[in-house]
């Protein structure tokens, strides 16, 4: 049989949140284009990126909404949490203040998304933690503990080197896919953050009964 109308089975909606300058857009770029944007301008409101990935043999299209970290856009970006299946919460391991704000980001995420939304914590800029002259301001252990206490998945990543960037996006997708398999995520409901695009066999308007002809 030929390929379906879509070259994927599911769409997962993600949002990326976190303080200004923690590298949200860079993570997205690294993930979608496998490139590091050195002089990434501040995001105006909300940007959008997609990539098709493979989860347990299924093609999944990630529809990623990258939000502005600037406070003035908060009124806009808060509206994008609605119906996100995955939320990537980013802080900068070299700036403690961005870590300290995580609980407020987490509160927003919890109140504005579904209970089944997968939240993934990313400590970005781990490339700046080199043996000689580390700029690290938040230890791995501390963040890991925060993640465990709040039931979040967690990695330290680098949008610059690409370390763990794939993993963060893929692990989130795996977890979401698992929720679908477990039936915790209702695909038929609107705004679940996941759209299923299955091959619709035997639909009402099948003009040709012979499946070989296509």
């Amino acid at each position: 049989m030929s390929a379906g109308p879509y070259n994927y089975e599911y769409i997962f909606k993600y949002i990326i949140i976190g303080d200004m300058g923690v590298g949200k857009s860079c993570l997205l770029h690294q993930f979608t284009d496998k490139k590091f944007m050195a002089d990434c301008p501040h995001t105006i409101g909300v940007e959008f990126g997609t990539r098709i990935i493979d989860v347990a043999g299924q093609k999944v299209k990630l529809q990623i909404w990258d939000t502005a970290g600037q406070e003035r856009f908060r009124a806009v970006t808060r509206s994008y949490y609605r119906g996100a299946a995955g939320a990537l919460m980013v802080y900068d391991i070299t700036r403690r203040s961005t870590y300290n704000h995580l609980s407020s980001w987490l509160t927003d995420t919890r109140t504005l998304t579904n209970p089944s939304t997968v939240i993934f914590l990313i400590g970005n800029k781990c490339d700046l933690d080199s043996a000689d002259g580390s700029q690290r301001d938040v230890t791995y252990e501390e963040a890991k503990q925060f993640a465990d206490e709040n039931g979040l998945m967690f990695v330290e990543a680098s949008a610059k080197t690409g370390d763990n960037v794939e993993e963060a996006f893929l692990e989130t997708a795996k977890k979401i896919y698992q929720s679908i398999q477990d039936g915790r995520l209702d695909l038929n409901a609107a705004e679940s953050g996941v759209q299923h695009k299955p091959p619709q066999l035997g639909s009402d308007f099948t003009p040709n009964k012979d499946p070989c002809s296509c």
Binding site: G4, Y6, A75, A190, S192, Q200, P207, C214
Partner: protein, 641 residues
């Protein structure tokens, strides 16, 4: 000798013969044996008689034998004769046959020729048949294909048939070039008819089925159908239009669902659950729309996947505009409600900011769409409502609450209230660039009437009170505005207005100092350019001056003592200090002038340094708290009193 020889030779020949006879062996001579054997058949008795008769007997026997022979041969001859006759007859018939054959041969020759001709004809014809078949194969549709083109189903083979029609049409050009104009034109016409019929059918089919783009089977056929229909822009547009209508309905339904029923199990909550929070309500609706558009774009791209990409982007934009047209009405109704019902200017301003932000997004995603025009319309309606609300509030407030200035000359509560409102509006986090025009207008709508009201309410006060009150109000306004961008011009104007009031107050303060120090007459005399020595002018006698110096000494010790009481009501310490400084400068300048004149010998004071123990520098330092700059003496100097 010869005789001898002869006899000798005779003798030898006889002997030879003899020898020969002797050597002859009867048993070896078969002929003789045969003869003898034969002889023995009839020669039975060896009698004389019989020997005498032998010869005749033999001859008679020979005769008999010959007669037998003859008679025997007679038969043979007769047989031979008959054979001869037979052969002859045969020959004759063969002869006849030959001639017959010959004549037949001449006869059949034409037949053969005819046959050969016919054969070659047959070959030619069969070849022509092949050619004709090939021609038909190339230039006509098979009955099955024809049936495919006309029956109601669309399948992959339909497209093959349609392809064939197309390629036949194309090939006809070659046909035409090779001179077969009539045929070519006929076929072309025929194919055009088929093509029209096929595309027409395809169009009807696609129009009916285009909503099934998300199904796997349909999508493949649909994308091919759309690619075909692209040749007929009108049909193509109709199908796209039909598609848009169906998607439009889907999108409206989804929008209404998000508004009223929310996500699974009520999370996320329906958007309308927050309809009392205008900012969130509007923000959620617009964000929902923003996020719905990529899916629609993807679907339409899928539908037009196989189409030629040239000029397609215009079609896609149009289609998206068409699809999103459906949500315009529900959106507009809700926006209008929010705009009408919102009573807080700052919330309304947030809504404007959101509308402008999403207008930017929509205008880049689907430029020129109806949705965009809704944004334009609603933004402008919202702005109108916002300014009218703001003006109403300001007007009402100024009417009701801007009372007479309080006795301590601080800005009236109404002023503070309006400035708080302005602060609230200006603090709305801007999510768009280019808000200068709005800010200038907002500031003007609050500050202009406020300034007017303040001036009006201050009019009843004394000059000094009025100046202090106005300065306090201006100061409050300026410190509010200084926090925000795009207020520079306004701040400059306020500064200029403040400066005027500061000048007034300086002048008042200086006059008050001059009066309190009894400096008035002295100053008047100093300005008078009379030639007479100063010490002889009445009022400038050392005794008279002494009273001034006494008071001055007192003043120098306690500079604040002679400050006008209202000056202390100034909220800005800068204003206060500046007025005091500038008033004191006036005194310092007069003192310097007086000092110079008294020390001038021409004025004939007996002991000037005793009379004026303090140098002007000392006085300056005491009054202004710093060493007087040596240069530019009359700086802000003497103002008219």
């Amino acid at each position: 000798m010869t005789g001898i020889t002869d006899s000798e030779s005779d003798a030898s020949s006889v002997s030879k013969r003899l020898n020969k006879i002797l050597e002859t062996r009867v048993e070896n001579d078969t002929n003789t044996l045969e003869g003898l054997k034969e002889l023995s058949v009839f020669f039975k008795e060896n009698t004389l008689q019989s020997r005498r008769n032998l010869r005749s007997k033999i001859e008679k026997r020979s005769l008999e034998i010959n007669a037998d022979f003859l008679s025997a041969f007679q038969v043979v001859k007769e047989k031979l004769d008959s054979v001869y006759n037979d052969v002859k007859a045969m020959n004759e018939s063969v002869q006849i046959m030959t001639t017959q054959l010959h004549s037949t041969k001449t006869h059949t020759h034409r037949l053969i020729e005819q046959t050969l001709k016919l054969q070659s004809d047959a070959k030619k014809i069969s070849m022509q048949q092949q050619v004709a078949e090939a021609f038909i194969g190339q230039f006509q549709l098979s009955p099955e294909q024809l049936a495919l083109l006309t029956d109601s189903n669309i399948s992959q083979s339909f497209f093959e048939a349609l392809d064939k029609v197309h390629s036949i049409h194309e090939r006809c050009r070659t046909l035409m070039q090779s001179g077969l104009r009539t045929v070519a034109l006929d076929i072309m016409e025929q194919m055009s008819r088929y093509q029209e019929a096929g595309l027409d059918k395809l169009y009807r089919w696609a129009q009916f089925h285009c909503k099934g783009i998300e199904s796997i089977e349909m999508s493949n056929l649909l994308t091919r159908a759309m690619a075909r229909l692209q040749e007929r822009p009108v049909l193509f547009k109709y199908v796209v239009h039909e598609y848009c209508i169906s998607r439009r309905a889907v999108m409206v339904q989804m929008f209404i669902d998000a508004l009223t029923s929310g996500g699974p199990g009520g999370t996320p909550k329906p958007i309308e659950a927050h309809s009392t929070d205008s900012k969130r309500y509007v923000g959620d609706m617009l964000a929902w729309l923003h996020q719905a558009i990529p899916n629609e774009r993807e679907n339409i791209l899928l539908l037009l996947r196989d189409c030629s990409k040239e000029e397609l982007s215009k079609d896609i934009d149009e289609a998206l505009s068409n699809i999103t047209e459906g949500v315009c009405n529900p959106l507009q109704v809700r926006l209008e409600t929010v705009i009408q019902q919102e009573t807080s200017p700052s919330n309304l301003y947030s809504v404007i900011s959101l509308l402008k932000f999403y207008h930017n997004i929509i205008s880049s995603v689907i430029p020129g769409s109806v949705l965009e025009s809704v944004f334009i319309e609603q933004t402008s309606a919202c702005r109108k409502q916002f300014f009218s609300l703001l003006e109403d509030i300001v007007a009402k407030m100024l009417q009701d609450r801007v009372e007479a200035p309080p006795s301590n000359l601080t800005p009236a509560p109404g002023v503070l209230h309006l400035l708080a409102l302005l602060r609230q509006v200006l603090s709305v986090a801007s999510v768009t660039e280019n808000r200068q025009v709005d800010i200038v207008k907002i500031v003007a709508s609050v500050i202009d009437p406020l300034l007017q009201a303040v001036s009006l309410s201050a009019a009843r006060l004394t000059t000094t009170d009025m100046a202090v009150y106005l300065l306090n109000c201006f100061h409050q306004m300026a410190s509010t505005l200084a926090l925000y961008e795009f207020t520079d011009q306004r701040l400059e104007r306020l500064q200029a207005q403040s400066d005027a009031q500061i000048d007034t107050l300086t002048s008042e303060q200086a006059s008050s100092l001059v009066a309190n120090l009894n400096l008035g007459p002295i100053y008047t005399i100093l300005q008078d350019s009379s030639d007479a020595p100063l010490s002889q002018i009445p009022g400038m006698e050392p005794e008279c001056l002494d009273s001034f110096f006494g008071k001055l000494e007192h003043f120098l010790m306690m500079p604040d003592m002679l400050l006008l009481p209202q000056i202390n009501y100034l909220q800005s310490s800068n204003h206060r200090l500046e007025i005091q400084r500038r008033a004191n400068e006036v005194i310092s300048a007069i003192y310097r002038q007086l000092y110079q004149r008294i020390h001038d010998p021409k004025n004939m004071y007996s002991n000037p340094s005793h009379l004026m123990p303090r140098s002007p520098e000392q006085v300056h330092e005491l009054l202004l708290g710093l060493k007087e700059p040596k240069k530019n003496e009359n700086t802000s100097g003497i103002i008219s009193l």
